[in-house]
Structures are given as structure tokens and as C-alpha cells.
Amino acid sequence: MYPILEKQELAPAIKMMVVAAPNAARKARAGQFVIIRVDEPGERIPLTIADHDSEKGTITLILQEVGKTTMQMGALEVGDSLATVAGPLGHPTEIEDYGTVVCVGGGVGIAPIFPIARALKQAGNRVVAIIGARSRDLLFWEDRMRSVSDELIVCTDDGSYGRPGLVTEPLREILEERRGEIARVWAVGPAVMMKFVSRTTEPFGVPTTVSLNTVMIDGTGMCGGCRVMSGGAAQFVCVDGPEFDGWLVDWDLLLSRLQYYRPQEQEAIEHWQTCRSREVPA
């Protein structure tokens, strides 16, 4: 069992938890994820490691309550435990001194972009960060992102804070104004956002890395449930990724595969809401 040591609400339906998971914390690096399971009848879902402390044996997870499992996890308190935390999984981000880089985080993707931006900064890069959310109350970690960025641009879709509009707009301006200066772009967020970030950077020829968040079960490469097409070849996100070249990803296939369990996900939410105090089934 993996006890929850700290819990904080970052925004409505977005929660941060510090979890004791010494094995995962010991080797965790930016870009990697864990598979968690809340309890015995629970499903396995991937969550990115937003931060870790190897000495204390803890990892930080950020979750957005979008379905049954994240809602149930969000309802846990300090002192409760997760049944499974397996990892770290996937390849770490390839951190080097590239020069000037842009890190784009959208919505709950601000959490996983943070350790990537921090590692890039520590490696000597000049970090330009763009973070965006639907509205002001859904935005979090502006201060953390500022602390690891040389420049920070904040956007909200509804214009309630910072620049109004989508993250792709300031990104395009930067790429236009500073042609030749931006070495690389990283983007983490909803699949649609990463798709359009990739479409934005491609004409400028700036290599773009995205972190894919697909349906997963084991997270160790034994089922292929997470497979995507990248550059015309089938790849398993859990072991070949989670980071891929955004220009090569077949986004429409990925988006359609993400929809497949939608009806059952809805059924799971309804089932949970009607019997919250569930016992472990016999």
C-alpha cells in the first residue's frame, strides 16, 4: 500500500497528492509516469510523475477528476492509501543543453511540463514557457513554472486571466519573431492541444516532443492497448514513449482510440455515484 502524505486542491477538480512510493521515487526522472490503482476492484491508470523526492521516497501526482477512478482518487484524504503505484515507467525526457527551448503546458498538462522545464533549465537551456487553461480558476503552478522559466506566458481560453486565447497563438508569434533561435518545443496537455502545437511548429522546422496519454493497462509493454502510429509504425506508448515526435504521430487515430470506452466510462461514473461506499466484492 502507498500512503497519501499530502493533498492539495490546485483548482476545481484538479488535485495534487504526495504519495509514499520509495521504489518509484528512487529512479524517477522528468518525463516518466507511474501506473496507479486506487483499490482492489480498481482499474490501472497512468499518471505522470510531476515531482519526486528520492530521499524521502515520495512522488507527486496531479490528477484531474474526469472519470470514475480520478474522482474516487480525488476523494481520498491524507492517511488513505493507493493499492498500486508501479514505476517509474517509460523513457525519461532527453535532457540536453539545446539553447532556447519552449515548454507548453495545457490544463492538467502544466503538472508534467514542470519537471521537464526544470530539468531543461538546470541543463543550461533558456526556457520559454507557455501555460494555458480554460479559465483563471483552472490555472495552477504559475509560481512554480515562473521559478524555472526565463519567460512565462499565461493564457486562458476565456480571457479571464493573462492572454486570452489558446497556447498555440503565442507559440506561433515566438516562432515567427525568433526564427532560428528556438531549438526545440515540448508540449504536454490534451491530445487536441498537442496535435495543434505540432501543426504550429512543423512549418518552422522546430523539433517538437509531445507526451502521449493513451489508454493503458499494464504499462510494461505486454498488451499493446496504448499503441499509436508514429511515422507509419505501430509503437507502444508505455515502453517506446511516452514522448514522441509530434510531427510523426497519427493524431486522428489517437483521438478516435481515446473515445472507444466512452460509454463504459460514463456507466462507471454513474455506478460509482450510486454506491459510493463500496466494499471489496467477494
Binding site: N23, A24, R26, K27, R37, P41, G42, E43, R44, K68, T69, A83, T84, V85, A86, G87, P88, L89, I217, D218, G219, T220, G221, M222, C223, G224, G225, R227, V228, M229, A234, V239, L253, S256, R257, Q259, Y260, Y261, Q264, E265, E267, A268, H271, W272, P281
Partner: protein
Amino acid sequence: MPRVNPTRTPMAEQAAEERIRNFDEVPYGYTVEEAMAEAQRCLLCKRPTCMDGCPVHINIVGFLELAAKGDFRAAINLIKESDALPAITGRVCPQETQCEQVCVMARKYEPVAIGRVERFLADWEASQGDMPTPELAPPSGKRVAVVGSGPAGLTVAADLARLGHRVTIFEALHEAGGVLVYGIPEFRLPKAIVRREVDYVCGLGAELVKDFVVGQTATLDELLTEFDAVFLGSGAGLPWFLDLPGENLSGVYSANEYLTRSNLMKAYRFPEYDTPIARGRRVITIGGGNVAMDACRTALRLGAEESIVVYRRSREEMPARAEEIDRAEEEGIQFMYLTTPVAIHGDEHGQVESLECLRNQLGEPDASGRRRPVAIEGSNYRVPADIVIMAIGQSPSPLIPRTTADLDTKKDGVVVIDPPTGKTSKRGVFAGGDVATGGATVILAMGQGRTAAAAIDEYLKTGVW
């Protein structure tokens, strides 16, 4: 001379029309009387051949003689000297090609149902309450890491723990058992039985660390700084796909994914359990091995109106156990033989709609000795389906070789071992089971585990590699 009983004692089982609606075990197992009657069929050969057919060389005549007298306690203890997991092997071993094939009775009559009696004894012991722990050797002070808690790893852990070594089993998933929990369905091997056998191995002193992915959570080299030896029993979990057009449509599963959702995650009990699984009306399984049989029979139990197996050769060449093919046929699975899939077609939502196939004829025998299927050009036709399951084989995961420079593997990722010892190219590292064969049976994995355990014990004592 005792009178020879030519026919084996039948074992009662759930009727086909009943069992296709549940995940309960198909055979009920022997009663005390049936088990004794069957054990009494054994001729007690002076030079028994049955033991040669058993990969872990159980003293078969010995345990049958005890069972025939009703001394079940002594009989199960004798089995456990060679086989730590008899409730499992009694159920899933292909006895017809092993012990029962070389039973002397099989020359003229039906062989003694060795597997059924073994299974009875294991279940009898469990029904008696606690399972006594055998005597353990004094602590050797040596530590061994076992990577993977499937049949190979559990066998090695049990053997080495009994020899006094401190064993830690590292398992990537949240439940121990490997293919026994994620691959083989509940209706063939109830998970409560696997848990019972795992508890028995842990009761011998082996420590189980779950959620630990070797190659990620720690590398093999990191394990070697803490342990005197490592046994690699990580199996062959990387599923193969055919690289067909449309293979990434929603509704196309690897058998590993389909079975893991159903067995390990209990998706068949959704929404009581959280993991969803698609319930198709027409399900096609591609392949002809035991995994394909498990997948097509699972589909039926998940409510498929039609569950169809597509296999490129004919029934005679199917690698699945005869008993499993018979059961699948009884349950109403349809078989399309001599059929090669060429494409999967989808609808406007990106979901599977049909499988396009070619008809085959059998050509000359190939390297495997089986007649090679040759596609008949232009014979394309489509079979409607909403789920397609790929059960065409698997190979070892690349996670460990990728992070271990000096571990020799073949092109397909299979770890190279010295068969009499299980030694790999890396000092202190032994391997066995599917990671070293590329995909075989539970009992072969256990046999290789047994061999490796003896070699590990020798290495720990002598330090000679």
C-alpha cells in the same frame, strides 16, 4: 494379477449451454471415491515410464499408490517434493503429451488420469485448512532475486527457499502468478487457487515485492549489487501483431490485452470492477494456440452471439490442446480453417466492422514439418465483426535486455541460456521459462525453473560460474 480397468473414471463438468454464461471452472474435479478408483487403475510399474514424461519428474507411481489407499496427506507431500504448484499443473498441463502419453496403460487402454488425481490431491489438501510447510534447510546467508512471479519464478523461489536461501520475488503487476493470473481464464484455472499456491511459496519464506518493473524500477545490474544471484523468469509478454491495414482500429485487441482485462482486472464483472472491456456481438480470434482458445471462449462468456476462430492451417495442425479445442467446439465456437486475414475494415468512428480474408490451400511441409498454407489469389471475402483479437504469439519484453548490455539475446528477444543449468551470458544471472523459450507451456517453465534452481544452489555454494 489385478483386474485391469480399461477406462478412466470420468470427471463431472458443467454442461456447455450452462458454462458459456459464466466464468466458473468447467470441470468439477474428482470426489474422494472417484480419485481412489482412478488411482487404483495404476499398475504400479516396477520401472515406471510415466515419470520420464513429467518435466519435473514427480514420483507418480508413488503418489498414486498412496492415493489408492486413501492416504492423501502422504500422497500430496510426495508430489510437493517435486512440484510446488500441483493444483495448477494438475489443471493446465497437457498431460496427453507428457506423463499420460507414456503411461503403460495407454498402449492398450486409456492412460491413468494422472493430472486429475494430482488436482484432486491438491484441492483435498486445501480443503483440510492449513497447508503444512515442509522442513526448510538452515539459512545459507545467500540472497537470490527472482524476476517474475509466473510458473518459472514461483518454482525457483520455492526450491531455493527450501534450500535455505533468502529469496525476493519481483513482480511488475499488482498480483503474483504471471500468465496464471493474467492469461489463463478463471474457467480453466480459478484465481483463488493461484493465490493459494502463491501464499504457499511465500509461506516458505520467499518475499514478494509487487509493482516492481525490473528494467525500469531497477536494472538487472542494480539487483546484482544486492543479491548473490538473479533468476530471470519474466516470460514472453510482448504481443505480436500481423501489421495488417486497420490493425489499430478500436476493437482490435492483442489476446494479452483482452485476457488481461478479463482475467487480471476482472472486466467481466464491470462495473463492479472498474476496468471496461468491449462486449462484441461478433468476435473473431486470429490464431490456433491455447491463447486463441482462451480468448474465443472468453468472448462467448462476455456475451458474443458468434465467436469465430480464424486459423491459416487446418484442424490437425492447430497447436492448442485437443481437450481445449473439443471444449471450444462444444461451446459453439465457429472455426474458419485455411483462412488468412489480410485487412481489417472500420466504420466512420474508427471501430472494427469486418475482417477481410483469403482462402488457403495446404502446400508442402515447411521447416516446422507442418504443411504450409498457400493463399488462393483473388479469393478475398469479408467476415463482419466488431472485435478482432490477435492471438498469433508473443516474445519476451525488451525492457530487461535494453537496460542490460551484457545479456545475450536472440533476434526475437529470447534470452540465450545454457540448457542444463539455465546460465545466461551474464555472471550470476540465470533464466528459464518463456523468456528463454519464447513461449511454451506452464510445466516446461516449471521444469526449467527446477533445473535453474539446482544450478543456482550449486553456484551459491561453490562460487564457480
